[in-house]
C-alpha cells in the first residue's frame, strides 16, 4: 500500500512539475534509472559480499536522481522543460536502462539473475519486513516532503513565469520536487523493482473526480494509489494461483493502453 501511495504521489508531483498529464517517473526514465542502479548493486553486491539490503535503497535513489538530472538537462529548452523532448528522452533512457540491465544479467550468477529478473518486472514478492524497514525512512521523507509542496505545485501549473510573478521561488521548488521524487522512486524501486504506470493513471483518475487542483489531487492520488496497488497485488496473486505474477506485469497491462488512450485524447484536443 505504501508503495502504491508513493508511486501515485511522485506521479502527481512529476505531472505538476512538467505541467503535463503524460509525465510519470516510469515514463520519463527515472524508475528505470533507479532499477539500473539497483540491479548493478545486486550484481556487484553478490560478488563482493556487500550488505545489499542496506545499500539498495541508497543506490536506487542515486540512480533515480542522476537520471532525473539528466532528463531535466536534456529536455530543457530556453529555461522550460519541453514535453515532447521529455518523453523522447525518457524513451531513450528507458531503452538504455534495459540494455544495461541486460548486460548486468548476462554476467550475473544464478541467484543474482533470479533477483534481477524479478526486479525488472516489478514484484512485491521480494518485499519483506526487513526490506521495508530499510526503505521506510526514505519513503517517509518523500511522502512528507512532496506533500508539503502541494500548494506551491498547484500555483506552478499556471506557468513558470506566472508562478514566479506571484512570489514563488520556482527553481527552488523544482529542485525540491525532483529530489523528493527521486528519493521516493528510489525507495520503492529498491523494494519492488519497476512498477510502472501507477504514477500515470492514478493522478488522472483523481483529476476526473476532484478537478486539477494539486491540493486535492495529491491526497486522493495517495489513497487511490495505495488501494490500487493492493488490488493489483490481489490480482497478481490470484490470476494464475497458486503461482504469483509479478505485479509490474499487471500494472503495465492496464497502464500502457491507458497511456496510449491519453496520448490520442491529447492529440484530438490539440487538433
Amino acid at each position: 500500500m505504501l508503495v502504491g501511495l508513493v508511486l501515485a504521489q511522485t506521479g502527481t508531483a512529476t505531472q505538476a512539475l512538467c505541467r503535463n498529464p503524460l509525465a510519470d517517473p516510469s515514463i520519463i526514465g527515472v524508475t528505470a534509472g533507479a532499477a539500473v542502479a539497483a540491479v548493478m548493486m545486486i550484481g556487484i553486491g553478490y560478488q563482493y559480499n556487500i550488505d545489499v539490503a542496506f545499500w539498495l535503497p541508497i543506490a536506487s535513489f542515486i540512480g533515480a536522481l542522476s537520471v532525473t538530472a539528466l532528463v531535466a538537462m536534456l529536455s530543457t529548452r530556453g529555461g522550460a522543460i519541453n514535453v515532447t523532448n521529455l518523453i523522447l528522452v525518457g524513451v531513450a533512457l528507458n531503452a538504455l536502462a534495459f540494455a544495461v540491465i541486460g548486460l548486468v544479467s548476462f554476467y550475473a550468477d544464478d541467484s543474482a539473475l533470479r533477483l534481477i529478473n524479478y526486479w525488472t518486472m516489478g514484484s512485491l514478492a521480494g518485499a519483506t519486513w526487513s526490506t521495508l524497514f530499510n526503505a521506510l525512512p526514505l519513503m517517509l521523507i518523500s511522502i512528507v516532503g512532496l506533500y508539503s509542496l502541494n500548494k506551491k505545485l498547484n500555483v506552478l501549473l499556471l506557468g513558470e513565469s506566472e508562478a514566479k510573478y506571484l512570489g514563488l521561488d520556482v527553481s527552488k521548488l523544482k529542485h525540491k520536487t525532483v529530489i523528493f521524487t527521486a528519493i521516493g522512486v528510489g525507495a520503492t524501486v529498491s523494494m519492488t523493482g519497476m512498477i510502472g504506470f501507477i504514477g500515470l493513471i492514478v493522478p488522472h483518475i483523481s483529476r476526473m473526480i476532484v478537478g486539477p487542483k494539486i491540493t486535492y489531487v495529491m491526497p486522493l492520488s495517495m489513497a487511490i494509489g495505495a488501494a490500487g496497488l493492493l488490488l493489483a497485488d490481489w490480482a497478481a496473486r490470484n490470476v494464475i494461483s497458486p503461482a504469483e505474477l509479478p505485479i509490474g506485469i499487471i500494472t503495465a497491462l492496464i497502464g500502457a493502453p491507458f497511456f496510449l488512450y491519453l496520448l490520442i485524447q491529447q492529440r484530438s484536443k490539440h487538433a
Binding site: 505541467r19 498547484n154 500555483v155 499556471l158 506557468g159 513565469s161 506571484l166 512570489g167 514563488l168 484536443k269
Partner: protein
Amino acid sequence: MLKISDLSVDIGKRTLIKNISAEAEAGHLIAIIGENGAGKSTLLNSLAGEIKYKGDVHFEPLNANKVNIKNASLEWLAQHRAVMTQKHQIPFAFGLVDIVAMGRFHKVEPKSRQLSKVSQYLSYVELDTHLDRNTSQLSGGELQRLQFARCLSQLDALEGQSTKKLMLLDEPTSALDVRHQHRLLKLVKKFTSAGNTAIVVLHDLNLVSTYADQVWLLDQQTLQHTGTPESVLTEERLTKAYKTSMRVIQHPDSRTPIIFSEFTEH
C-alpha cells in the same frame, strides 16, 4: 514611481533593446508602442525581471522606500507588481475561481475573504456568469480576461491603498472584442487614477490615444519618443516608426488624435 536607467538587453550578439532611460510617474497609464520586433515585449519582460538586463530599474511605491528591482525579493515583488504575459493558456482544466485565487497565493487571509474578493474580480471582467465552466471551455478572449482578473486580484488593484503598485501588461486587449477592450482599459485607468502605475504594450493606436497618459515609442531597439499621446502620435513619427503611411486627425469631441493607416511599400 518607476525609473529606468540605461537599460540594455543583449542575447548573444543580438541587441534586443539598447540604452533605454525613462520614468513612469505615479498615476500614469503608459503605453509602449512600436512595430513587431522593436523591443516592446523585451522591455516589459526586463521590467518584470524575466530576462537579464544591463542598467537599473528602480521602483518607488509612494510611502515606501526606493527599491532596485534586481535586488527585490520575490515576495515583495508579488505584493507590489503584477504581470500579464501574452500566454493565456492553462494546461489543466481549472475552475475560474481557482485561477483568480492563485493570484492571491502570497496573501494570508481567511478563505471567506478570499472567495468574496475572487468573485468580485471575476465580476469586473464579466466572467462571474461563467462559473460553471473551466479554463478549457473558455474562448481566447475569455481566458485573457481571466488572466487579467488574476492580476487585479494579486494586487487588490481596485481598492484604495496607501502603498502604490505597478501593473505590467503585454497586449492585454489582443483577443478582446471592442467592448471588452474598453472595459479592460477602463479598469486599468481606475487602477492608475488611484496613484498606481500601469505599463501596457498596445497595438491599437486609437486605444493608446484614448487611454494613455504617456506614450513610449520604440523603434530600432531604442526608445525614440516619449510624451503625451498628442505629442508622440503624429503623422511623421508614426509613419517613420511603422514604415507605412499614417494619417492623424482630431477627434471632434475629445480633441484626441485619431489614427488611420494606409499600406505603402517602402
